[in-house]
């Protein structure tokens, strides 16, 4: 039994549709303002969309009415949707135990039963020793674990996590991440996050949102291997150029023809160039199907002058910034990035404003449909 959602909120330019399977974890990702948190609010019942419907495990969460039939709306307390936000929001006047027991007690369990359930869940998140404390006495990481236990204690049909690790320091986040991995197994969950690591470790599928709409979705591995949206590309850490298929390459509007390896759906139709498009060189982007060319920064070499020799993709760029990246230096030039060694950076005397050439072998470029 799945979660199915479609919702439109005109004022926030939101228009989404989403499906989550019985024990799936879906990561919702996207730039700021994409509407990810709005989505969480619609699912939890804290925000009413202008139009749409949602069902969870066969139960209707909401449905906008139409002439002849009234709409339906389940208030938040009747939905069985648990929420864990960036801020733990533990009730300040209740102890940790009472916080976790709050859900079961609201569902009708007596004090003893609720307290027992609370202790069990505190055990699951490794926070039993905090039971008697007040929320003001907890660290950020501890509070988030307690908040997780509190949300799980109601045994929700759907768990929504809205950037749960965003406020944690770099030492607490990994612990919570492994905890989530264990706890989300077999549970239907939607996690809103900026971090590709969360998607990798926790999510079965990724949904990418931008400006209120879903722009890309699919299994985690597929998205990260063949990203189709700029955001997914930055998640995957790949340089991605868009254009239309022209032979074994993609003709882009600003970077010319990018030659590469046909992959994915294009792999089968490899041999023949798309009808009506010239094989190489000149001309504007032809009428071939839309395609993307992706290559990792590590495959990019930086030259001060276009190299001679074997045909390679060569892009003239202006360096915009340099930043450390592991034990390499990442050279950013607009949308493209190249990872080269510090020694090479020094030798080339690279600085913001330097005009250089990014060179990539065709073999390192993956071409796939947009």
């Amino acid at each position: 039994m799945t979660l199915e959602l479609s919702a439109v909120i005109a004022e926030r330019h939101l228009d989404v549709a989403l499906t989550v399977g019985g024990s799936e974890t879906v990561a919702v990702m996207g730039p700021n303002g994409a509407g990810k948190s709005t989505l969480v609010q619609v699912l939890s019942g804290l925000l009413r969309p202008d139009a749409g419907h949602a069902t969870l495990g066969g139960r209707t969460l909401f449905r906008t009415g139409s002439p002849g039939s009234p709409g339906e709306w389940l208030p938040p307390h009747a939905r069985g949707v648990g929420v864990l936000a960036q801020d733990a929001l533990l009730f300040p006047h209740l102890s940790v135990l009472d916080n976790v027991a709050f859900g079961p007690r609201s569902q009708g369990r007596g004090r003893a039963g609720a307290d027992a359930a609370a202790r069990r869940w505190l055990g699951e998140v490794d926070a039993v020793e905090l039971a008697g404390r007040k929320p003001g006495q907890l660290s950020g990481g501890q509070a988030q674990r307690v908040a997780l236990a509190r949300a799980l204690a109601t045994d929700p049909e759907l768990l929504l996590l809205d950037e749960p690790m965003a406020a944690l320091d770099i030492n607490s986040a990994p612990f919570l991440r492994s905890l989530l991995k264990r706890v989300l197994a077999g549970r239907r969950a939607v996690i809103v996050t900026h971090h590709v690591l969360d998607a990798l470790m926790l999510a079965d599928r990724i949904v990418v949102m931008d400006r209120g709409r879903v722009v890309e979705e699919g299994p985690t591995a597929a998205i990260l291997a063949h990203p189709r949206s700029p955001f997914a590309a930055s998640l995957a850490g790949l340089n991605v150029l868009a254009g239309s298929l022209a032979g074994a390459g993609v003709r882009t509007s600003d970077a010319g023809l990018v030659a590469g390896r046909l992959t994915g759906a294009f792999a089968g139709a490899a041999a023949a160039p798309a009808p009506g498009s010239p094989a190489a060189g000149t001309g504007s982007p032809a009428s071939g199907p839309e395609g993307l060319a992706a290559f990792p920064p590590s495959a990019v070499s930086v030259f001060l002058a276009p190299p001679q020799g074997s045909p390679r993709n060569c892009f003239p760029v202006t360096v915009t910034e340099l930043e450390p990246h592991g034990d390499h230096i990442r050279i950013r030039a607009g949308r493209l990035a190249a990872d080269i060694s510090p020694a090479a950076t020094a030798e080339l005397r690279l600085q913001p404003g330097s005009r250089v050439f990014f060179v990539v072998k065709a073999a390192e470029v993956a071409i796939y449909p947009a």
């Binding site: 948190s37 804290l46 938040p76 307390h77 801020d87 009730f91 300040p92 809205d162």
Partner: protein, 281 residues
């Protein structure tokens, strides 16, 4: 080391410029000196007999009883009113708020007249109540109603402000945990604004204690039934100024004790911050 002002506290910074202290002192003196002026006129030799006379004790007990009842009414009706004004959305909300705060602005005598024309024998509702055998004017009930009428806005105003600042984040979380609205109110909302509620209640009590004009116009003045302490003071002025001053001092003393013991500046509950809320839509 910058000069921190008259109350130098090494390591502490108080953003109060020195000239503000002067004006504050002037304001405080404006209130305190007339009180001292009154205290200076008290006939201490006769003080105890004056305040323990039968009429004085009757008036004091009546004042305390009615003020307590009035405060209870203010809480029962004021808390829901504050909740609705602070959190619900409906047409005419602003007008309603303005009207609810009218008793603060309007002279209490006008309030008393309004109550009289509504609940008096010939009044809008009074006629029907009379038929049922309920007669409100000239009774202690009328005193409580008059006091509640003028004191209710104090509680509503104080609590509404606290509710707005507190926000609704904790309530939203409680709802997602399965708590019905009544449970949320009982276990989350009220406990979190309790300090603001208590200070509002104390203000209402103090205002009820000092109420005069509405009581006189609506309830009348009869010892033990409707003659509260302020009315007794006004009456004693006619023939026994010493008694009037002694009772005034008593009223001030009672008010000071009650407020000092129970009024704590409401500690504003920390508004829950959720970074997701700050995302630009």
């Amino acid at each position: 080391m910058p000069d921190l002002g008259p109350r130098n506290r090494p390591g502490g910074y108080h953003a109060v410029p020195r000239w503000v202290y002067l004006l504050a002192a002037a304001g405080a003196l404006f209130i305190l000196v007339p009180l001292l002026g009154m205290v200076a006129k008290v006939n201490w030799a006769q003080f105890i007999p004056l305040i323990t006379s039968e009429s004085s004790l009757d008036a004091l007990l009546l004042s305390l009883k009615t003020a307590a009842a009035s405060t209870a009414l203010c809480i029962i009706f004021g808390v829901p009113l504050a909740l609705v004004l602070a959190r619900a959305q409906f047409a005419g909300q602003r007008i309603l708020r303005a009207l609810i705060l009218l008793p603060l602005v309007v002279p209490p005598v006008v309030g008393g007249l309004a109550l009289l024309y509504t609940f008096g024998r010939e009044g809008l509702l009074g006629k029907s109540l009379n038929v049922l055998g309920i007669d409100i004017a000239f009774s202690t009930t009328a005193v409580v109603m008059a006091q509640a009428f003028v004191a209710l806005p104090f509680l509503v105003l104080s609590l509404e402000g606290t509710l707005r600042t507190a926000g609704q984040r904790y309530e939203a979380v409680a709802a997602t945990l399965g708590a019905r609205p009544s449970t949320v109110l009982r276990r989350i909302t009220v406990p979190l604004v309790l300090p603001g509620l208590l200070s509002g209640a104390v203000l209402s009590f103090a205002r009820s204690l000092g109420e005069f004009g509405a009581t006189l116009t609506f309830a009348g003045s009869l010892q033990g039934v409707t003659r509260t302490l302020p009315l007794e003071i006004y009456l004693q002025r006619e023939t026994d100024p010493d008694a009037a001053v002694a009772l005034s001092f008593l009223l001030i003393a009672v008010a000071v004790v009650v407020v000092a013991l129970t009024y704590r500046a409401p500690r504003q509950p920390k508004p829950a911050v959720d970074a997701a809320e700050t995302a630009v839509p």
